[in-house]
């Protein structure tokens, strides 16, 4: 197996450096290019030929294009959507107003449909999704009905110390359970020990889990908004009395739901 040496890697890196890419994208593409060069050498090409053939299909313009594209799909596109919605709303208001004349509408349309892409690319948006921090039980603070917190605890049935992935909230059977942030239902149904369960995917890799429910009102694929009724408290699955087991996952790892309202949990920052 051929592995490029430091000097050879530096040659490839120099090519990437001239494109002025962000550090993390540059590192990722460096590995990709090196792998491609190694594969060509594996097939018998010498290093200079392999580099030449590989880099020929990766011109600087192309590299910059990738970076722009990433910024476009992850940051700008969602913003254009919001911007267009806001503009449409504004246009609607202008249209409905009694003193309506067509010119303001034309202006609004122009600024949304003829946006200069270069200008959009240069915008930076620090906008961040607020982690789910609302209470899933209407009108009650989570702290006030907490029967078991997050972290290590002695299991009520097995009497062994176990990691509790969420928090248990005391509530009567049938009490409405609310979505704690906007999102999309990715699971609604029976899930073993969790009993009847609803799982909601939110932005930025957050998932909320509601377990031991008596019933679910939403179905998989439904879009829900903060405060929307999604289920009712119950005691299905491995549960001794009616309560809501509530979990928040960030990138599949559980975090303390009570910590989210206060500050960012450890490990929840982007890395």
């Amino acid at each position: 197996m051929i592995i490029l040496n430091e000097e050879q890697v530096a040659t490839v890196q120099a090519h990437l450096a001239s494109a002025g890419l962000s550090e993390s994208l540059s590192a990722e593409l460096l590995d990709h290019l090196c792998c491609a060069i190694e594969a060509r050498m594996e097939e018998g090409a010498d290093f200079p030929t392999a580099v030449h053939t590989t880099l020929k299909s990766w011109p600087i313009r192309h590299l910059r294009g990738i970076q722009k594209n990433i910024r476009f799909t992850t940051k700008i596109k969602p913003m254009i959507f919001r911007f267009t919605t806001a503009a449409a709303l504004l246009a609607g208001i202008v249209f409905m107003s009694p003193g309506f004349s067509p010119s303001p509408v034309a202006e609004v349309t122009t600024c949304t449909s003829h946006h200069n892409e270069e200008m959009l690319y240069s915008l930076t948006l620090p906008e961040k999704f607020e982690p789910p921090s609302a209470s899933p039980i209407a009108g009650v603070e989570m702290e006030d009905i907490l029967s078991c917190g997050y972290g290590m605890r002695t299991h009520p049935i097995f009497k062994v110390r176990k990691f509790h992935r969420g928090i248990d909230l005391k509530a009567k059977s049938g009490t409405p359970v609310l979505a704690t942030a906007d999102g999309k239902v990715i699971f609604a149904g029976s899930d073993g020990k969790y009993g009847i369960t609803v799982r909601i995917l939110h932005e930025d890799g957050y998932i909320t889990v509601f377990a031991h429910l008596s019933e679910h009102i939403v179905e998989r694929g439904d879009h829900v908004i903060l405060g929307e009724k999604i289920a009712a408290v119950g005691s299905t699955g491995m549960s001794t009395a009616p309560h809501l087991h509530y979990e928040v996952l960030k990138d599949d790892k559980p975090v303390d739901p009570l910590a989210l309202g206060r500050a960012l949990p450890a490990g929840a920052t982007e890395g």
Partner: protein, 110 residues
């Protein structure tokens, strides 16, 4: 080789399915696997692969893990539970789409 339009419309489904099966892969590995399994017919461009991967991370369908391999930093993409759900949905939708296209285009199995 298929047209850009067809690749563009299916890349997300292909990548999610690939990661659903393999669990964890890095960028170069994905293009290599897709190329091999399609006998070179489905050629994905890096220009669309990386923006897609970054978008899937942003949407919580993948997470990244960076490791040092052969002295270089390598970014792996791992599918999340939400990613697996999305992979299943998209694959199922595509299956129905193929059946519809067969009817619409009057395709006979060769």
């Amino acid at each position: 080789m298929y047209s850009k339009e067809l690749i563009k419309g299916t890349l997300r489904t292909v990548i999610l399915r690939l990661l659903d099966r393999e669990g964890r892969l890095y960028g170069y590995q994905m293009s290599k696997l897709v190329n091999e399994r399609s006998q070179g017919n489905y050629q994905l461009s890096e220009g669309s692969l990386y923006p897609l991967l970054h978008k899937l991370v942003k949407d919580g369908l993948l997470v990244t893990e960076t490791e040092t391999v052969n002295g270089r930093s390598r970014r792996y993409y791992r599918i999340t539970e939400a990613g697996r759900a999305a992979a299943t949905d998209r694959r199922e939708e595509f299956r129905r789409f193929v059946l519809t296209m067969r009817t619409l285009l009057d395709l006979q199995p060769e």
